[in-house]
């Protein structure tokens, strides 16, 4: 099935969007309806390093994690929770491991649901294992194992299926360290989108077959790499005006999952999900101030503005003063959701949304572009040429530059360095052709020559 491209916006205007409400709510798991008028905490965790030594140890670790979370939710009186298990590589490389973990977790969740009525769902995020030591192997033997991991988890308890896929990453890693904007566009916008269409068509088939939810992807491996390398205000590894362009380009790439059958909720670390929500109307998970256990960002409140599920990214399982980490962080997430749900119930949702957005709006160019009114504009630029994966990615990048420039003329302060990096990026974008075939051909020649680990056959090129 060919992807059905978006050429229009789900929302008539930016102000129509808020948290906890989507155009197309998703029913999942044990009594949940996501994006249907309330927000839901989504806790994500990682086993302690030594737990990966055997399947038995790993299953036991996830049983502890799941029980701890469910117990804390009930103890403090929260009505709903989503658990996200991001696979460690052993669980995806050996699909039966992932399946056993899913089964063990779901058994515990069912017990709590039956006993207390707490609404819950289990997301399993399969690891993108499609590579060997030397090269990405997106379409080789590992692809079968990858799909098998989805199917086995879906058959054994997972309700929501996700992945952080890596198509284009070999080029992106090279380009981002060289301020190479066309390379980033090629990696995320073109190669990433090509790979996304293949995998999400297949994952959506598995979801349909197993009665589970094809939930969506995130450009963690590229846009988040840029954000992570960019770091804080004083870090000197990447201009934030470059990182924001990677983020803008990641939106049309992550959109492909929904064009190929996914229905949401999109995965937490997709900071681009606000743009995707504006285009699709589907529910999205987001993360920000509550993901400081995993990484810092410069928009901790702002990204909460239109979330449907609210996540902590990931935390290693271990003890803290207030309980285990998963108990502490799930409680924090759930209190945030309680506040948002109170705002929804008292019709103060748009006030709270705007307060969260404004508190970070001028903190950084990345935050500025992701403020819901500006994110909506990037969405419009994408759907304008929605049928062309290259042009829509280029449009997103160009609109992003324009938005940040306008911000800089207003109250968004940029350093001279950031201003110059933005100007250089804009010039690089202006020099690009409008013809996708020419761009793809030029990039194929250039990167085959410069990036030795680039294998065009991974993308059917």
């Amino acid at each position: 099935m060919a992807a059905k491209r978006y050429t229009s916006m789900a929302y008539a205007n930016a102000d129509e969007m808020t948290f906890g409400v989507s155009k197309y709510p998703v029913k999942a798991g044990l009594g949940l309806e996501i994006g249907a008028g309330y927000t839901i905490p989504e806790i994500n965790y990682a086993p302690r390093p030594e737990a990966g030594a055997s399947k038995e140890k790993l299953v036991k670790e996830y049983e502890r994690i799941t029980t701890d979370i469910m117990e804390r939710m009930v103890q403090v009186g929260f009505p709903a929770i989503i658990l996200e298990t991001e696979h460690v590589q052993q669980m995806s490389n050996n699909p039966s491991w992932g399946a056993e973990v899913a089964h063990a977790q779901k058994t515990i969740m069912e017990k709590y649901h039956d006993e207390y009525g707490i609404k819950c769902a289990l997301r399993h995020t399969i690891g993108d294992i499609r590579e060997n030591r030397e090269f990405m192997q997106l379409r080789g033997d590992k692809y079968s194992v990858f799909l098998e991991a989805f199917e086995q988890c879906a058959e054994n308890g997972a309700d929501l299926l996700s992945v952080e896929s890596m198509g284009g990453k070999e080029i992106f890693d090279y380009a981002v360290l060289r301020n190479d904007i066309p390379g980033m566009l090629y990696a995320i916008g073109c190669l990433g989108s090509i790979d996304m269409e293949m995998i999400w068509t297949d994952i959506s088939k598995i979801a349909k077959k197993t009665g589970t939810v094809s939930a969506g992807d995130t450009d963690c491996s590229q846009a988040n790499t840029a954000m992570f390398i960019g770091g804080g205000l004083l870090n000197k590894n990447l201009a934030h005006t470059i990182a924001v362009i990677a983020r803008a380009i990641s939106a049309p790439r992550s959109l492909v999952a929904y064009e190929a059958g996914a229905v949401g909720p999109g995965k937490d670390c997709g900071y681009e999900n606000i743009i995707v929500k504006a285009i699709t109307g589907m529910p999205m998970t987001m993360e920000g101030k509550t993901s400081t256990c995993a990484h810092s960002d410069v928009m901790g409140n702002l990204v909460m503005q239109c979330c449907d599920c609210w996540s902590n990214e990931s935390v290693e399982y271990h003890g803290e003063f207030g309980g285990t980490t998963v108990q502490c962080w799930s409680e924090t997430l759930a209190y945030d959701c309680a506040l948002m749900n109170t705002a929804l119930e008292t019709k103060n949702d748009k006030v709270l949304r705007d307060l969260m957005m404004l508190s970070d709006r001028y903190r950084d160019p990345q935050a500025y572009m992701l403020a819901y009114d500006n994110a909506y504009r990037v969405g419009q630029a994408i759907v304008k040429d929605g049928d062309n994966i290259y042009l829509r990615a280029k449009n997103a990048a160009v609109e992003c530059c324009k938005i940040v420039e306008e911000g800089a003329a207003d109250k968004l302060e940029l350093s001279r360095f950031e201003t110059k990096a933005l100007a250089d990026a804009k010039a690089a974008l202006e020099a690009l052709p409008d013809d996708m075939d020419k761009f793809m051909g030029d990039c194929l020649t250039k990167y085959k020559n410069e990036v030795k680990v680039f294998k065009p056959e991974n993308y059917g090129l």
Partner: protein, 258 residues
């Protein structure tokens, strides 16, 4: 839509990078640091600008004028790279500039080697790898580029490297330091295995570890571990080692920040 006034905004956030930006542009700062020799200057400047072709052109002119190709590595290429590293350390230029300069420097070194029968001397050898089970190698790629930019010979074992293979490489290369990077909590456990294998074989070199989920507490749990919070710490640790600090506790005192 709600918005701030200029005054109210300042009560909520400060963009310290803007407030503290240096007055001098990177180009002006670099100009002050280039050597004045008319044959060396264009090479150093081409390194700073990351222009491979100009580096080779400058080297060609210097060799034609009688300069020794191997000496040009230290006297021109490393001098240019020194300008880049100094400005990076001072926060005047950013990592992509360093990466592009390092690419140009490596092309220049190759050109010098091709034009001389001799082998250039380096500050020492460092073996670098990504932990077994982990294929995320952008951090390792930054580490190797920064080490090379600082004049070290790097033996890059790549990603997803079994502990036994790391041991074999250390035995063969006799490095001053080993580096290990990992993104995930589950794969970083491989560092302990590498550490144990080195000790079993009587090898006690510093093992600098860093990456996404890696933290100082974890690295401090194994005897040879020295935690590097930033990729830029790798050449600094290596420099400390060649300056005489080889004791792990002393290195931890210098580089552990938390």
């Amino acid at each position: 839509m709600l918005d701030f006034t200029e005054a109210s905004l300042k009560k909520v956030l400060t963009r310290y990078n803007v407030a503290l930006e240096k007055a001098m542009t990177p180009e002006e700062a670099a100009e002050e640091l280039y050597p004045k020799d008319e044959l060396i200057y264009p090479i150093a400047k081409a390194i700073f600008e990351g222009e491979e072709d100009d580096v080779v052109e400058g080297l060609e002119a210097a060799i034609d004028a009688g300069k020794d190709p191997i000496n040009l590595i230290d006297d021109a290429l490393m001098v240019g790279m020194g300008v880049v590293i100094k400005l990076y350390d001072e926060g005047i230029i950013f990592l992509p500039n360093v990466m592009m300069s390092a690419d140009a420097m490596l092309d220049g070194i190759e050109y010098c080697k091709e034009n001389s029968g001799a082998t250039p001397k380096t500050k020492g050898t460092v073996v670098c790898h990504v932990a077994e089970g982990d294929v995320h190698d952008i951090g390792k790629n930054i580490v190797t580029a920064l080490l090379r930019a600082n004049g070290f010979n790097v033996v890059d074992l790549g990603r997803d490297v079994p502990a036994e293979e790391v041991l074999d490489a250390v035995k063969k290369e006799k490095p001053i330091m080993l580096t290990g990077t990992a993104l995930m909590t589950t794969t970083m456990y491989a560092f302990k295995e590498v550490n144990d294998k080195l000790l079993e074989n009587g090898i006690k070199i510093p093992f600098a570890c860093g990456g996404g989920a890696v933290n100082q507490d974890f690295v401090s749990q194994f005897a040879l571990g020295v935690y590097g919070e930033e990729a830029a710490d790798a050449p600094k640790i290596a420099d400390a080692i060649i300056a005489g600090t080889t004791d792990i506790t002393a290195l931890r005192d210098m580089f552990h920040k938390h």
